[in-house]
């Protein structure tokens, strides 16, 4: 990390730790907007930071680490795609409807923190992306299983602008980074807990079964972090359709082992509302489905590999990772 990245990382770390999983947009967003963090990926001449995908990875990972209940990640991706430095954007997962000329009628769903947003970027039904003003339709609010807002916007004959880029894949990459961060936080919480909690006259950490379980978890967390880094580096080189697919598949796998072992070593306390494990694990379970679950990304990754045949496998893979 260079000096600028170090500063960015420290700033995000402090800010996200302060607001954490109990933040609300009303109370927390002004602090994010004040430092214009949502312009991280936006070019400097468009009013942004001109940050790289590696820098975005750092911020997204920290957002996951602190389970921050603010749409930081979505706003950064939306601003980058819409090339806007005004207002707060967010990104819909699913678009149903039709574009006729420069008008759109239909529904955008899976919108994180749609309430109070200024604009929504969404996958276009025919490829690429669109952006719609959030005020252009009616918003139905909902929540994912971690309690994060996931809303639906229904519009009739609303003006849309077309954008380049793939919002679905970029949000999948963002979720991979958040998963990596949340897994690291879950691991740290688990290691801390087993070093403190005593049974049979000694800390749980001294039991080999517990050590081996957390060693397995550490490997999974490391794999998710490496996958996130690989996909971000690929984005920096241009586009990363296969890397993002591979990274989301790998990170999703790590969630299963990681959350199961974290809850196991915590015992009953980890199953309570009061203890701070669930803001991490419930988010991990939700993010596993968001912006493409295993079925979706398996088809995206596996289809072309099978079609190309075994002789192209290794050369394709090494071309992917550079």
């Amino acid at each position: 990390m260079n000096e600028q990245q170090q500063m960015l990382s420290e700033m995000a770390d402090g800010l996200f730790a302060e607001h954490g999983p109990t933040a609300t947009v009303e109370s927390g967003w002004p602090a994010i907007a004040e430092v214009a963090l949502d312009g991280l990926l936006l070019a400097e001449d468009q009013g942004g930071f001109g940050g790289s995908w590696e820098e975005a990875l750092t911020v997204f990972r920290l957002a996951g680490y602190h389970a921050i209940a603010l749409p930081v990640v979505e706003a950064i991706v939306a601003a980058a795609l819409a090339r806007r430095s005004d207002g707060r954007g967010t990104v819909a997962a699913v678009t149903e409807g039709r574009i006729v000329g420069d008008r759109f009628s239909g529904t955008l769903s899976g919108i994180p923190w749609g309430g109070g947003a200024d604009y929504v970027v969404a996958p276009a039904p025919d490829g690429g992306a669109i952006v719609v003003a959030a005020q252009a339709g009616t918003l139905d609010t909902g929540r994912n299983i971690a309690g994060e807002p996931r809303d639906r916007l229904t519009v009739q004959d609303a003006p849309v602008a077309r954008l380049e880029g793939n919002p679905f894949a970029l949000m999948a990459l963002a979720r991979v980074a958040q998963i990596a961060g949340a897994l690291d936080a879950t691991l740290a919480l688990s290691v801390g807990y087993v070093n403190e909690r005593k049974q049979f006259g000694r800390p749980l950490a001294k039991f080999q079964a517990v050590q081996q379980a957390l060693a397995s978890f550490a490997c999974e967390a490391a794999a998710a972090n490496c996958a996130a880094m690989g996909a971000a580096q690929a984005m920096s080189r241009g586009s990363a359709p296969f890397e993002i697919a591979a990274a989301k598949l790998r990170a999703n796998r790590a969630i299963g082992t990681g959350t199961a072992l974290a809850h196991q070593v915590h015992g009953a306390i980890g199953f309570t509302e009061e203890y701070q494990l669930h803001p991490l694990t419930r988010r991990l379970w939700a993010w596993r489905s968001e912006f493409g679950g295993d079925a979706y990304w398996s088809a995206q990754l596996g289809g072309p590999i099978v079609a190309a045949g075994s002789s192209a496998f290794w050369s394709g893979l090494t071309a992917l990772t550079g």
Binding site: Q211, A215, C226, A227, G230, L320, T321
Partner: protein
């Protein structure tokens, strides 16, 4: 690289493409040596090529992914040559290293003994000084390739009465020295890869001591880092992934595509992790903890592949379909993947220590 492999690798028996780093083929080793692809990072004065560690890494990956039979020289190239160059006496370096780089001299690893497996610090083979010579007595076991090897580096107790990891030293032992006897151990597939090695009053010159007397444990720990961090620790079952891809092409189904995707995602991730370890080693760092994680994840992955494929495909693991042959072969070999080079439990113990749990 890819051309050289295509020219030399015999694809007639697809089983030979699996776990290729344990398949010896001296003719192939000599061809690689002649092409400058062994001892790539070693000094030219010892037959090496003074290439960067990352160039070497890319070559290794290509060889393994292609299932090339690199077993004869693998250990010499991976650890023995490097160990000798770092710690060996000038006479020993001159005697062994150039032949290793040429793909003509092969090595074996003398660590395990009947009563020293995971608990390596309990080795009992001894070295005692007699005038200018060392005399070795004891037994090694599970010694891969001892029957092809020209030389062994053994970890032995050089200080009488010492315990645990104190008083150990490493020695270079020529496999044709009087008193060295190799007996085959046949593995469960009927194959002959590892051996028992008996060492009875084997007399060695003073120069056979590798490094510092009594410093064997520290040296061996560094050697194990080399042994554990390479790409061979996740690619042993790649031949089966390749077979599966071609099978899925002919028998398209969503579930096979999903399995291919899962295996590809894992291979991609492990490659990144393994390359990152290689990068750190190349920069002179010692990423021991990360290397241990890559080996543990990699071994579990290569071990899981045969079972996953068996569950996904209706094929006879006895053949004659190539997919079945490779599957059947790897099903039987795969238990060894989480044993050789340090067991899963021992690796996880190292990781747990890194996490601050012990």
């Amino acid at each position: 690289m890819r051309a050289l492999v295509a020219e030399h690798v015999d694809t007639a028996d697809p089983r030979r493409l699996a776990n290729g780093w344990a398949v010896p083929d001296p003719a192939f080793s000599r061809a690689l040596g002649a092409a400058g692809l062994i001892g790539m990072t070693w000094p030219k004065a010892y037959g090496g090529h003074e290439r960067s560690p990352l160039e070497r890494y890319v070559v290794l990956e290509e060889l393994l992914a292609a299932g090339a039979p690199v077993g004869a020289h693998w250990i010499a190239d991976r650890q023995t040559g490097a160990l000798l160059l770092r710690y060996g006496h000038e006479d020993q370096k001159a005697r062994w290293v150039p032949g290793m780089a040429a793909g003509e001299i092969y090595a074996c690893i003398g660590l395990s003994e009947p009563n020293a497996g995971s608990d390596l610090a309990s080795v009992r083979t001894t070295a005692r000084r007699e005038g200018e010579e060392w005399v070795i007595d004891g037994q090694k076991v599970w010694t891969t390739n001892a029957h092809h090897a020209h030389v062994m580096i053994a970890l032995v107790r050089s200080e009488a009465g010492s315990e645990r990891n104190a008083g150990l030293s490493q020695f270079v032992i020529p496999m044709d020295a009087p008193g060295v006897t190799v007996r085959p151990i046949i593995d469960l597939t009927g194959g002959h890869d590892f051996n028992e090695v008996f060492l009875e009053s084997v007399r060695l010159p003073a120069t056979a001591l590798v490094g510092v007397e009594g410093d064997g444990w520290r040296q061996v720990t560094a050697e194990l880092s080399l042994e554990r961090s390479g790409p061979e620790r996740y690619l042993s079952s790649t031949a089966l992934v390749l077979q599966l891809i071609d099978y899925a092409r002919v028998h398209p189904s969503e579930s096979l595509t999903a399995l291919v995707a899962r295996l590809a995602a894992e291979t991609w991730t492990l490659r990144l992790m393994s390359a990152s370890v290689a990068n750190k080693i190349a920069r002179g760092e010692d990423p021991a903890l990360e290397a241990t994680m890559v080996k543990d994840l990699g071994n579990s992955f290569e071990q899981a592949i045969p079972e996953l494929v068996q569950a996904a495909v209706e094929v006879d693991p006895a053949g004659p379909e190539p997919l079945g042959l490779v599957l059947g072969h790897l099903l039987q070999l795969s238990p060894s993947f989480s044993l050789r080079g340090g067991t899963r439990e021992i690796l996880k113990g190292i990781i747990a220590r890194g996490l601050g749990l012990r």
